[in-house]
């Protein structure tokens, strides 16, 4: 048989400069890219919120038009959920999971880079809609037929439909990667029940992602078929059922809620034991309650649809499952309090945020149990009471934990502490601002103020609390500003932090800060939960968990960087814009994608030589 040579593309070698970042496949650099990009997008979502709060500060303000207000609340929620909290969590997944399980990288480093670039391009498609003919305007849930061509002919929904599908590709690739990494790449001795809680929650979240995102992707695909090719999925005139979208959306949407909150719970479960100097109270129960939340998250979606008219049986069943899912969540809260009980607590900024998380998440959780009751929800549906609830669980919950996580792991990532004094004021303003902004929304909601209205008449009794809420939102923004100042200040002038500045418990603290490219000079051997703590304070185990110091990394071959992940992602970006604007461009995008995939798979394998382990 004849043989023929294939053109084998060369892999880049340099790891420095801009090209070093563009071609990087190092999970730590990708984590940093995720974190910085997501934080910028988080700030942009915050600015959208400030516009809304400014508009609602007084009755009958005319700062923005009703049309722009619709775009603002749609983009605010879409940004915060898909471009803020999820990628901020992904930043932690990327940076920490390999370090916590004693691995040198994730299972598929190039796929990991592909996930980041695809996320970035999906985010661009969504955010640039502001400048390319109008942002989406139908709410983050995009209920069809409101998003159908007949009701919503503008190009905004097109960006939303296509952008979210691109983001779905990024999320799926990333979660598949983390599932394989966690299941297959743990250090010797690290059984599942010895895994750090954050890694556990990453695993559960990743499973939720790979099973929930396909459902929204298909719903978006169907909507896209309607809008671009004139099909009938959500066209009532053709007999389509308007409830179908709601079901598809919330079958994804409710697991999504846990996709947002489980990583935060994982972060808090790492911070609390360290700063209480106690092991996590009831570790197996915390793990199992997390897994249980992952399962039960699939059984509650219709509580978003209590007022649709699904009938008393469906409403009762979903009310009961919704109340039931509060149980494992409550179990976690008691375990966190139990962890602090009797500990010698250090009130670092990270710890303040973790405690703030528990406090605010309890409030958000309790209002959640209130509208789990269908009759009560009928009163609260589409009022500011719901807005208060989601912001207590997502801002008071997820974002508090993420800030805590940043304060906790910043020394590991940079080798420097974030300034604790600025951190204290950062926490005070964010915590205070959160409560001043969102607590009055409970009163507004019970007073009957509907969500998503761009203004209200004077004399409805809503003036005072709206003013308070708006003042609170600017307080909150000031708190975030302190964080940004602290970030840059500490990056330049921060106090040096050693390998283990907090006297912590898990493997990532056993290696230098910032970690070398290969993470572990020697793959650690784990003999129990909290391996580093055991080594430092346990007495009877003297086996080193990790060969730590710099300069021992000779002979460790890390995979070289690659051009193809970003190249392949560009194919998706071009293809996505092609779908919106002109199909020949989509063909071009498809061609780039195919070239990228072939070059990717033909690239010389450059994995670490097993002989050197």
């Amino acid at each position: 048989m004849a043989t023929f040579a294939l053109p084998v593309p060369k892999r880049p070698v340099s790891c420095t400069g801009v090209w070093g970042w563009i071609t990087t496949i190092d999970h730590k650099r990708i984590g940093a890219l995720y974190g910085i990009t997501a934080f910028i997008l988080f700030v942009s979502g915050g600015i959208e919120a400030l516009f809304m709060r400014a508009q609602l500060m007084r009755p009958e303000m005319a700062l923005v038009s009703p049309e722009v207000f619709n775009q603002l609340f749609t983009m605010h929620a879409t940004t915060m959920i898909f471009l803020g909290v999820m990628p901020l969590s992904a930043a932690f997944f990327n940076y920490l999971v390999p370090l916590q399980i004693g691995a040198r990288d994730v299972a598929f480093p190039r796929l990991n880079a592909f996930s980041y670039w695809t996320f970035l391009f999906g985010a661009l498609i969504l955010k640039l809609s502001w400048f390319l003919g109008g942002a989406p305007n139908a709410g983050w849930f995009g209920y069809a037929p409101l998003t159908g061509l007949q009701a919503n002919p503008g190009v905004g929904i097109d960006f939303w439909v296509v952008g979210l599908q691109v983001l779905a590709v990024a999320s799926l690739a990333a979660s598949l990667n983390f599932i394989i990494t966690i299941i297959n790449m743990r250090a010797p001795g690290m059984t599942l029940m010895r895994m750090p809680m954050f890694t556990w929650m990453t695993l559960v979240t990743s499973f939720l992602l790979i099973l929930a995102f396909p459902v929204i992707t298909i719903a978006l695909l169907e909507l896209m078929m309607d809008r671009f090719y004139g099909m009938n999925f959500f066209v009532p005139a053709a007999g389509a059922n308007p409830v179908l979208w709601q079901h598809l959306f919330w079958i994804f949407g409710h697991p999504e809620v846990y996709i947002l909150i489980l990583p935060a719970m994982g972060i808090v479960s790492e911070i609390l034991p360290t700063f209480s100097r106690k092991p996590l109270f009831g570790y197996p129960v915390v793990v199992l309650s997390g897994v249980l939340i992952g399962f039960m998250g699939w059984m509650v979606w219709s509580h978003h649809m209590f007022t649709v008219g699904l009938g008393p049986v469906a409403n009762s069943v979903f009310a009961i499952t919704t109340m039931a899912i509060a149980v494992p969540t409550g179990v976690k809260i008691f375990n966190w309090i139990g962890t602090m009980w009797g500990g010698s607590i250090r009130f670092s900024t990270a710890m303040l945020y973790a405690i703030g998380f528990i406090a605010l998440f309890i409030i958000g959780g309790l209002s959640g149990v209130m509208h789990s009751s269908a009759p009560s929800d009928a009163q609260q549906q589409d009022t500011y009471f719901i807005v208060a609830h989601i912001h207590y669980v997502l801002f008071g919950g997820a974002i508090m934990a993420i800030f805590g996580g940043i304060y906790y792991w910043f020394p590991k990532m940079t080798g420097k502490f974030l300034n604790e004094k600025l951190g204290f004021w950062n926490f005070i303003f964010v915590f205070g601002g959160t409560n001043i902004t969102f607590f009055p929304m409970h009163f507004l909601g019970l007073d009957g103020m509907p969500r998503r209205i761009y203004t209200y008449a004077e004399g409805m009794g809503w003036d005072f609390w709206n003013l308070v809420s708006s003042v609170g939102s600017f307080t909150l923004a000031f708190g975030v500003l302190i964080f940004i100042v602290n970030f840059f200040y500490s990056l330049i002038k921060g106090k040096q932090a050693g390998a283990d500045p907090w006297d912590a418990r898990t493997l990532e603290w056993s290696i230098p800060s910032p970690p070398p490219e290969y993470n572990f000079a020697q793959i650690p051997v784990v003999h129990g939960r909290d391996p580093l703590w055991e080594q430092k304070h346990g007495g009877h185990h003297t086996v080193p968990v990790a060969g730590g110091s710099v300069g021992e990394g000779h002979g460790i071959h890390m995979p070289q960087p690659s051009y193809w992940p970003i190249f392949t992602s560009i194919g998706l970006l071009v293809g996505a814009y092609g779908l919106i604007f002109a199909w020949p461009v989509a063909v071009l995008g498809g061609a780039i994608l195919m070239i990228g995939i072939y070059a990717w798979s033909l690239e010389p394998v450059n994995e670490p030589d097993p002989a050197h382990h």
Binding site: M1, A2, T3, F4, A5, L6, A107, F108, L172, L176, I179, I180, I183, N184, M185, R186, A187, P188, G189, M190, T191, I210, L211, A212, F213, P214, V215, T217, I218, A219, L221, E222, M225, D226, Y229, G230, M231, N232, F233, A238, G239, A240, N241, L244, L248, V525, V526, Y598, H613
Partner: protein, 202 residues
């Protein structure tokens, strides 16, 4: 050293190759893609306001033949993999190419069928049945097409020296898992969409 550790410590890995685990996890995810599409089809079953309806267009004998062709492609896939494991590269190539040809035949049937349906006045825009049917079977057809491209790439790559060797059977194993999965999805589609679509009383 690694072996010694494996005895000392409980397993912290499945022992499966990362890529094999990846394809299994991906297929789990793909189940949800098809699940959502099939659910949409069933929700809208019998809800079209205008014809043509399933019983007006389906030709069960023809689709049975194309189904049989696709199922046979799974068999030749197995034979190809088994030949590679035995080191019989020639048989591996022949069965691999047969798989591609059978897959392409199935796609040919689908193109013929879609054309025929359009002749009967059923397009994706006609009614709910058209929208759901073409999107579901079109997504499946796209999966098969992707599989053909994948297998053909492996076929050509096997002519490169050291491209596909018995030691690298995992690469074929992964593609085969995908191929069989797509076949199994078709069995579901054939039953739920075609057979249920023409039997009265369903």
């Amino acid at each position: 050293m690694a072996a010694a550790h494996a005895e000392e410590h409980p397993a912290t890995t499945t022992g499966l190759d990362h890529r094999k685990l990846l394809i299994w996890a991906f297929l789990a995810s793909d189940c949800m893609f098809f699940g959502a599409l099939i659910a949409t089809y069933l929700v809208y079953y019998g809800k079209s306001l205008v014809g043509p309806y399933p019983q007006d267009v389906f030709d069960i004998p023809v689709t049975s033949v194309s189904t049989f062709v696709l199922l046979m492609s799974s068999m030749s896939m197995v034979l190809s993999y088994s030949a590679l494991r035995r080191g019989n590269i020639k048989a591996f190539r022949i069965w691999l190419l047969s798989t591609c040809i059978l897959g392409a035949t199935f796609i040919g049937f689908q193109v013929f069928e879609f054309n025929d349906f359009v002749q009967h006045g059923l397009t994706p825009r006609t009614n709910l049945f058209g929208s759901t049917f073409f999107t579901l079977t079109g997504t499946h057809g796209a999966h098969v097409t992707l599989g053909i491209i994948w297998l053909l790439s492996m076929f050509f790559y096997s002519f490169k020296k050291g491209g596909i060797t018995p030691a690298k059977h995992l690469e074929l194993d992964i593609a085969a898992l995908y191929w069989h999965f797509v076949d199994i999805v078709w069995i579901v589609i054939f039953t739920v969409v075609y057979l249920f679509g023409v039997f009265e009383g369903f």
